[in-house]
Chain length 337, copies 2
């Protein structure tokens, strides 16, 4: 008998298609490793090609900015920016019906390493740590701009995850709008808070601990689990154990520990599923809601193992062909290097 | 300057990345046509293999049911059903927190033609007409079951659209739940109705007519356009011009005309984009809301030309690299055979 499970953070239902379900190891990619060179003369993100990118806004390594080559992590404005830091914030009514506005915002690229093939799941904890610090530094800088209401940090790894450039990088987008999707998650957690006086996400973490079956690992300050109503196989979240709304507010210690946990999870996914394409996103409160009691920042990791089809597009109901209890058990056992 | 556009039916914003935008013809697939045989002895949907499928629930052709081979359109229960027509409708509270229920529902496959390679964009209008009548007949049958609240009819064409079987087919799923996604679209249109006394969707159609730039074609009872806030290139909707909530309530004449329009649009997409993978979905009111004044059934067609990446997954904001005005103009000019 299949099961319908409700995601408590969105109220959306997910079909757990047990009859169609595959074993977790069946999601392992059956592909040969692609050989990627350590340096690509044509790559705009490789050292020596700094002049091919817009001037950097942050660089760790040299202690000075200016598109010089001696850096370890580097943040630049996206050359093909989806939003631009100019224009009018006013929403327009067009013909009394449609609403639009200038595409105001900021779109940055975090070049994670000088090496063209040093993917984030292969690097040392210290290096992941510097990437996380770069995320946080840019987050803190962007939230000072009163035009921006939401800052999204994300990574696309591999073609199926929507990346076009191979060199290891993540992206940061600051937008003036809070999307309806985020507003609705807030409505749900606000309602829960008003009913119970507690944070929905903190309660979810407690329940996951009590149950245990979907926990992948935990550290002092973080816990990693596969959500009860995961929409796709191996959906993984890293959640802080201390209530904290905003990624921008994590301490140095937390950033370091988070980097360590992220590295372990990325290695487990890499080894357990044979280098699948994946996205990760840091979900965090809108900048003007960072001190609310009812949201928890977290990282969501989505290996791209299945295809969203007409049913999902039409109904918003996802069909998951793997049980999170099974995938969490599988990932727990994957040894890291 | 990029533009942010708001979808009036969901209140979600979409980024129209004009600077990154491609010309409509750049979305044309550069692939050779795959040769598909007219019959595949291994295919469970090909005539002669009726016994490999569950007993049919509808067949046009023989005038009698019973898995006989003389049919033109055939509907069968899905052998690998995501939901099953048994079990308990009660929602359960588990550990006072997570909510789940049995996966009650019905999942059917519409085998559109006996021919293994007679894809819906290649067939005669009369044949499309019979597929639409089969959709409607099964819709009407399923809505009689009081357990079901929503019936989704959809088609996945090609691997990128999530299909696993080549033989031309569509699917119908009846679910006991109304997803939050659909509820929210209703909230938006209810609010609009309460404010204005008018149907949001009917007003949208009027505005599209007045503007004209996004209209692809019209017939007596239907209009086809690329929505103002399209989330992906060549998103196409077919909308009735007469207010009607439910696909189940269309007349024979409307079904015939709808089939004719659908066939033209599928041909234009096939020829204009060189046989792209696509999904289509019939959006229709939940079965207990079919007589409301503020919803319009419609078909949404989504060619799978781009990849959803981390930004979309994290924010719910889509980046569209084609303007609907440009893609509509391109599709208008594609001659049909």
């Amino acid at each position: 008998m299949p099961q319908l499970r409700q995601d408590p953070s969105t109220n959306e239902w997910v079909i757990m298609a047990k009859e169609r379900a595959k074993r977790p190891d069946q999601f392992r990619k059956d592909k040969k490793k692609k050989i990627v060179p350590e340096k690509d003369a044509e790559c705009p993100f490789c050292p020596g090609n700094e002049s091919k990118t817009p001037p950097e806004v942050l660089a760790y390594g040299t202690g000075k900015l200016g598109n010089v080559s001696d850096w370890r992590v580097r943040v630049i404005p996206n050359k093909y920016s989806a939003l631009v830091p100019e224009g009018d914030l006013a929403r327009t009514e067009r013909e009394d019906f449609f609403r639009w506005m200038d595409g105001v915002g900021q779109h940055e690229v975090v070049i994670e390493t000088p090496s063209h093939n040093r993917f984030i799941h292969l690097v040392e904890e210290k290096e992941v740590g510097e990437i996380i610090l770069a995320y946080r530094e840019r987050y803190r800088m962007l939230r000072e701009d009163p035009r921006y209401n939401l800052i999204i940090i994300f990574k696309n790894h591999g073609e199926a995850a929507g990346t076009s450039l191979e060199h290891p990088h993540s992206q940061i987008v600051a937008t003036p709008i809070v999307p309806a999707y985020i507003r609705r998650k807030y409505e749900v957690s606000t309602q829960y808070y008003d009913n119970t006086g507690r944070c929905l996400y903190c309660d979810m973490v407690k329940k996951e601990f009590r149950d245990g079956s979907r926990i992948v690992m935990e550290s002092e300050d973080f816990v990693v689990f596969h959500p009860f109503a995961s929409r796709s196989p191996f959906e993984t979240v890293i959640v802080p154990q201390r209530h904290c709304c905003s990624f921008g507010d994590i301490s140095d210690d937390e950033a370091r520990e988070f980097a360590g946990v992220l590295r372990i999870i990325l290695q487990k996914i890499y080894l357990g599923l044979n280098d699948p394409d994946f996205n990760y996103v840091i979900h965090t409160a809108p900048t003007k809601d960072e001190n609310k009691d009812y949201y928890l920042w977290h990282l969501q990791l989505l290996p791209r193992l299945t295809t969203v089809a007409g049913f999902e597009l039409g109904s918003g109901i996802y069909i998951n062909t793997a049980l999170p209890e099974d995938t969490a058990a599988y990932l727990r056992e994957v040894p890291i290097q």
